[in-house]
Symmetry: C2
Subunit: 231 residues, 2 copies
């Protein structure tokens, strides 16, 4: 899949790359010189957002070469070495169901949160497979599914006036080599660390904790994230 290449050499695709979380991760990684492909159902929209992300990343990239290209989700799934899934939960299953072939053999990093809102605030949506990451694993039997990047504020990721992100990335999965790669990818963004946080069967609460961070944000008027202490 990654053929033993260093994480810096990988082309990283983002499905749903035109949404806030996808854009935020893309601009931060692109600024470090990671080659990025932004996918969307609408390839023209993806190309447009990719140009904006490239321009913004270049303003903080220093000597790093910035490369951000847009395309359809299916083209990005086929062309990237590693793919981040950042689509809305409502479109998660349908999007991945069509991409099992282009994503075969690849690391698929799922950051989707099953979250709903009602008059009492945010709550967790049930996922039949137990978690969104497990749903991805069921739909992509030949991919290496890893859960990560759930707890990062899209607002902070997109705010390039702050050079570092104060937050750890909990990385969940069953394939050690894939998790090592994703932890290294998370570590490319200044301030962030990728922390091993358990098997895929324990993904549900990591995804769902984002709902609590939304409650924190509302109460304290902040953009909360998580640090794992003593590591």
């Amino acid at each position: 899949m990654t053929d033993g290449r260093a994480v810096e050499e990988l082309v990283v695709g983002v499905l749903g790359g035109t949404g806030p979380q996808g854009r935020g991760l893309a601009v931060r990684l692109a600024a470090q010189g990671q080659r990025m492909l932004l996918g969307s159902r609408d390839a023209d929209r993806a190309a447009e957002v990719a140009a904006e992300v490239a321009e913004r990343a270049a303003t903080v990239a220093g000597n790093a070469a910035v490369s951000v290209t847009g395309g359809s989700n299916v083209d990005v799934a086929g062309a990237a070495d590693l793919v981040i899934v950042a689509v809305p939960f409502a479109g998660h299953a349908a999007t991945l169901a069509e991409l099992a072939t282009p994503l075969a053999g690849k690391i698929v990093v799922d950051c989707v949160v099953p979250m709903g809102f009602d008059e009492l605030g945010a709550y967790v949506l049930d996922v039949e497979e137990g978690s969104v990451a497990q749903q991805a694993a069921a739909l992509l039997p030949d991919s290496h599914v890893v859960g990560a990047f759930h707890h990062l504020s899209a607002t902070l990721l997109e705010d390039l006036s702050q050079p570092t992100i104060d937050g750890d990335v909990m990385v969940i999965g069953d394939d050690r080599a894939s998790m090592d790669t994703v932890q290294a990818l998370a570590g490319r963004i200044p301030g962030m660390r990728g922390i091993y946080a358990g098997r895929l069967r324990n993904a549900r609460q990591v995804e769902a904790l984002t709902v609590n961070l939304v409650s924190v944000n509302r109460r304290y008027k902040v953009h909360a994230g998580i640090r794992v202490t003593d590591v």
Copy 2:
């Protein structure tokens, strides 16, 4: 319930106070001068552990008056102003079912984690009510149930050679005044903060995240906790 008294004035009971989490919280709070009652099914055992906890707390208490007394769970439930539930999950429902009357009108702080272990490590046990805290709320309809203190390492709490704890306490509940009290109680332990983290319906993932911290501990040989960033 707390009659508007400051948190420093409250007598804090711990059900299951002879276990590691109960002892750890008790010794840290007692060292700050909080009056503590340790409960156990075995009142003699509770008295024995209370004496040990008092002795250890006194070594780091400075000018604070240390008061730790042991008793049966039912006596502690009746005598305390606020009660922390730190029993094993296996005994959670049975313990609380007998204490609805003495706990009526009181703040009940549940820190119990529904965790099992098998050959793959730790995993989350299903709780019919959705979470342990919601189970407590169902069994104690006249109490103010709050979830808190799940993510603190008992090992670090009991290690008084470290004067501060590097970790936040996510506080979950539906009654604002009770949550304010529990946040203030958490904040009495040097280094710790009590952070509002959502309603009781979002308790499940906060409890279950402890399972992931166990995975972190095993991988990194640490005693992991959580900090909420940007607060």
